[in-house]
């Protein structure tokens, strides 16, 4: 009985200890001792008996009298690098050195760092907790007998995905690279686009257990300082176990979590993120996530696409309008169709009404239910098509086309006009992927409102939707800007896309301290001299 109690108490103690450790900063923790055995014992205790933790003992120096150990986690380090540039110099090159190092333990670590190891990034630390934390992120630690400092070598190397083509944000003319799961690769991709020395990646770790590396990317002097401060504050507030994906962060830092619309942008394309950073935004990258968040996020960004900037301006404007129209269609079409059919048949032109009424004859379900049923079927198909193993995808489309299209109509369950409406809606809903989720929800709401109250209901819901959108903010920036509050100069990149040489200032709604993007008056003109020559000839 007492033993049990004792055990329990002890358990609690350990728990407390652990909690403290995890909550507290590393600065207040234990320093390395001179005794290697002691250090290794602490390490073993902390890292446990996991099979992937490798502690490699060795004797170094010319007379092999200094005990040392290399600690790393198998799978997180580059083995070739480890063998060739760490283990071999330590065990082989060190022995060639004639000096007796044993008397000079203090400088041993420095000596190894400066003259032995042939790897790039090495840091010297004194805290054992720091060692543990870094080893867990893939660093290799070198500890030596008699040294109160340890070397941490960045020899990270694990199986990663290569840089691939973007899967979701396709572009015809733009670059074909997308972010990967590795933070460093992603920052490198950005750095390669913006070679400005003021491009800054501020790093922090979030997640009590996951210790995920998070990096805030911005360009000093272009991104407003208060924005960076606000982002940092919001990020530091997060207290959670694990950050699996960038969207975890999104949900912790967004302005209006109860809104259907996203107020944080995300992209998998380095070119998009680089462009947004240079507009005065900040990006947030998370290790393990092939997406980057960009804030502030404005509503209009949902309708912008990298190809708009790569294509010629007139076509880009057309595409913008098509997207806007398509999005409105995807929200409104079923609702309006239902409300016209059930409340305002007088609004159809007569011949259209006659054909719609003809298709309606003998159908069992009320129009609202018919529409909702078809919408639901579409959502089911979409979800199934998305999640189903690729080999089965074809089956879904065949069954879907048969069930929704042909069979339902010929069986007299739904009318052909309804199928056309829902199919149009479905296709239109893919035009603006970023707002597909709120779009789908509003589609249902509009259909219900249209079926219960007709156009009056739809207008009311629309006003409410607009008022809601107008009330949203993304890190202090009004969501609907630059349209409302109106910023006329900002409109150059909304319903039209002005030529690149005409967009000489950064979007004003983002409040960048450096408003000028480029010098104005860069419109290409034929060279003056050559035209004169042409005249004279």
């Amino acid at each position: 009985m007492p033993g049990f109690l004792f055990k329990k108490l002890h358990f609690k103690k350990i728990l407390n200890h652990e909690q403290k450790k995890s909550a507290g900063q590393y600065s207040s923790s234990v320093s390395l001792s001179q005794n290697l055995e002691e250090n290794l014992r602490v390490l073993r205790e902390a890292l446990g008996s996991s099979s992937d933790v490798i502690i490699r003992d060795m004797k170094i120096s010319s007379d092999s009298n200094i005990d040392a150990a290399v600690v790393y986690i198998d799978g997180l380090v580059d083995r070739a690098l480890l063998n060739h540039d760490i283990l071999r110099p330590l065990m082989f090159n060190l022995q060639l050195i004639k000096d007796n190092l044993s008397h000079n333990h203090k400088s041993l670590i420095d000596y190894i760092k400066s003259s032995v190891l042939t790897v790039g990034q090495i840091t010297v630390v004194q805290d054992i907790d720091r060692v543990i934390a870094r080893v867990l992120t893939g660093h290799t630690a070198i500890l030596a007998e008699g040294a109160t400092r340890a070397l941490l070598i960045d020899a990270k190397g694990w199986e990663t995905r290569r840089i691939e083509e973007p899967k979701n944000e396709l572009s015809i003319r733009g670059s074909k690279e997308s972010f990967t799961e590795t933070l460093r690769t992603n920052t490198a991709l950005l750095r390669r686009k913006i070679r400005d020395p003021r491009l800054t990646f501020e790093s922090l770790q979030i997640g009590e257990r996951s210790k995920t590396d998070v990096s805030i990317a911005y360009v000093q002097g272009i991104t407003p300082d208060n924005l960076i401060e606000e982002i940092k504050q919001r990020l530091q507030r997060i207290d959670t176990d694990i950050i699996l994906d960038v969207s975890y962060l999104e949900q912790f830092i967004e302005d209006s979590p109860s809104s259907l619309f996203p107020t944080v942008g995300s992209s998998e394309r380095p070119d998009v993120v680089a462009a947004r950073i240079l507009e005065g935004r900040a990006a947030i990258l998370v290790d393990g996530s092939p997406m980057a968040l960009t804030v502030p996020f404005l509503f209009i960004e949902g309708f912008q696409n990298p190809d708009d900037y790569y294509a010629r301006p007139f076509f880009a404007a057309l595409v913008r309008w098509v997207r806007l129209l398509g999005y409105l269609l995807s929200i409104y079409l079923p609702g309006i169709f239902v409300s016209l059919k059930t409340f305002h048949p007088e609004l159809f032109p007569t011949q259209l009404l006659v054909s719609v009424a003809a298709a309606r004859e003998g159908l069992p379900l009320p129009v609202v239910l018919e529409a909702l049923l078809m919408l639901l079927l579409f959502e089911i198909l979409r979800e199934a098509g998305l999640r189903m193993p690729r080999s089965l995808g074809q089956a879904v489309s065949i069954v879907g086309a048969l069930v929704i299209g042909q069979a339902a109509v010929s069986a007299g369950l739904v009318g052909a006009p309804m199928v056309i409406v829902i199919a149009t809606t479905a296709i239109a809903s893919f035009l603006v992927i970023l707002f597909a989720e709120p779009g789908a929800l509003y589609r249902f709401i509009m259909t219900l409102a249209g079926g219960l109250l007709g156009l009056f209901g739809i207008v009311l819901v629309s006003i409410e939707m607009l008022s809601h959108l107008a009330s949203l903010r993304s890190l202090g920036v009004a969501y609907l800007s630059p349209v409302t509050p109106l910023n006329i100069r900002g409109l150059r990149d909304t319903f039209i896309r002005a030529p690149l040489w005409a967009m000489d200032s950064r979007p004003a709604s983002l409040d960048s301290p450096n408003t000028r993007r480029q010098s104005s008056g860069q419109m290409p003109r034929p060279p003056k001299t050559s035209s004169q020559q042409g005249d004279t000839q």
Partner: protein, 366 residues
């Protein structure tokens, strides 16, 4: 203690005023009593309306950043000031109920004969309440999009109906007796232009107070011009029938028929009505709750939004029993009933403030 943190720009103020004036008048044609001379009545009314606006904007220029309630308590002292404020708030509240009433009557007659008025009113109220909750800033932002759409739709309607227009229908000019014309123009000055006095509760939140005056004028002027255009269009299309129809704008839109395809678009007018009515109701609703919150020193106006809304709906459902009564009130009663609120209160407050040289003492206090 700030009840409202939002700021609106002068452009937004102008648009808000346009939306407010369109409010019920897109559908209830102002100056209809004057038949095809309605546009003259509106033009005269517009001038009188600008004078009314001149009075209350002078008042707000004197007391920058203050709502009427705050001005009243400064000018008349706490007790008398609050009493006058409550009178004004009653006017706003009653105006809201009247607009709601118009609204539901139109919906009942033209679109939803069987749906109970209470339901449509409650739903409109709910949408307005949600927006009022979000503050004046959000309402002002909505105005930009909705008012623009409304004006575009009005132009679109006019273009489509152009083949059916016969400007001869406007002749002879000044066909109505002059007395009737003047009375009608006074009625249009009061409704819709004079109702802009409700902005005494809003002007305090303009980010550049020195520009608010011209913004109010611009808004009223543009709205007036559009209304004149609408009146001309309606008369040109409907001829003498313009005086007979209850909702001439709606009927005018029904006339549109471009090749059997672009036809039956009157619903656009109905949509305009609903969206613009939303502004008018929201502004007076906002003024009512904000005013009450200021009179009773509440920390926030939000808790009283729903109760006031419910009361407004109840008043709207009970105050007028039939359309004839409503029209009689709108044409005969209303132009007199509102004079104390639209002209007397701002004017007297301004005079008293001048006599007491109040803006300066405010400066000393601050």
């Amino acid at each position: 203690m700030l009840l409202e943190n939002g700021k609106i720009s002068s452009l937004q103020l102008s648009l808000l005023i346009i939306g407010f004036i369109f409010g019920a008048s897109v559908i209830i044609a102002p100056g209809q009593q004057a038949g095809h001379d309605a546009w003259i009545a509106i033009a005269l009314g517009l001038m009188e309306g600008l004078i009314i606006a001149g009075i209350f904007t002078v008042l707000t220029q004197h007391f920058k950043g203050k709502t009427l309630v705050e001005i009243n308590s400064l000018v008349y002292g706490k007790i008398l000031g609050n009493f006058i404020s409550i009178l004004f708030i009653w006017y706003l509240f009653h105006l809201g109920a009247l607009v709601l009433n118009n609204y539901s009557r139109f919906l009942k007659l033209e679109l939803y004969p069987a749906t109970p008025k209470a339901l449509t009113l409650i739903l409109i109220m709910l949408v307005c309440a949600l927006t009022v909750r979000r503050g004046i800033e959000v309402l002002a932002r909505c105005s930009l999009i909705l008012v623009t759409i409304t004006i575009l739709m009005a132009i679109f309607d006019t273009l489509l109906v152009a083949p059916h227009m016969d400007l001869q229908n406007l002749l002879p000019i000044l066909d109505v007796p002059i007395g009737k014309l003047l009375w009608t123009s006074h009625a249009t000055a009061i409704f819709p232009f004079g109702d802009a006095v409700a902005f005494l509760m809003v002007l305090a939140f303009v980010n550049k107070p020195e520009k608010s005056r011209s913004a109010v004028f611009k808004g009223i002027l543009i709205a007036g011009l559009v209304l004149i255009g609408v009146a001309v269009r309606n008369a040109a299309v409907l001829g003498q029938m313009v005086a007979i129809y209850t909702y001439p704008t709606y009927i005018t839109a029904q006339v549109i028929d471009i090749g059997d395809v672009l036809t039956r678009v009157e619903v656009l007018v109905a949509i305009n009505l609903i969206t613009m009515g939303f502004f008018k109701i929201s502004v007076v609703y906002y003024g009512t709750v904000l005013g009450l919150a200021q009179v009773f020193n509440l920390r926030s106006y939000r808790p009283i939004i729903l109760p006031i809304g419910i009361l407004m709906v109840i008043l709207a459902l009970t105050n007028v029993s039939n359309t004839t009564e409503m029209f009689d009130f709108a044409n005969q009663g209303y132009p007199i009933y509102t004079i104390p609120f639209q002209i007397a209160i701002p004017l007297i407050t301004l005079l008293v403030a001048k006599l007491r040289k109040l803006p300066q003492t405010r400066g000393e206090q601050a």
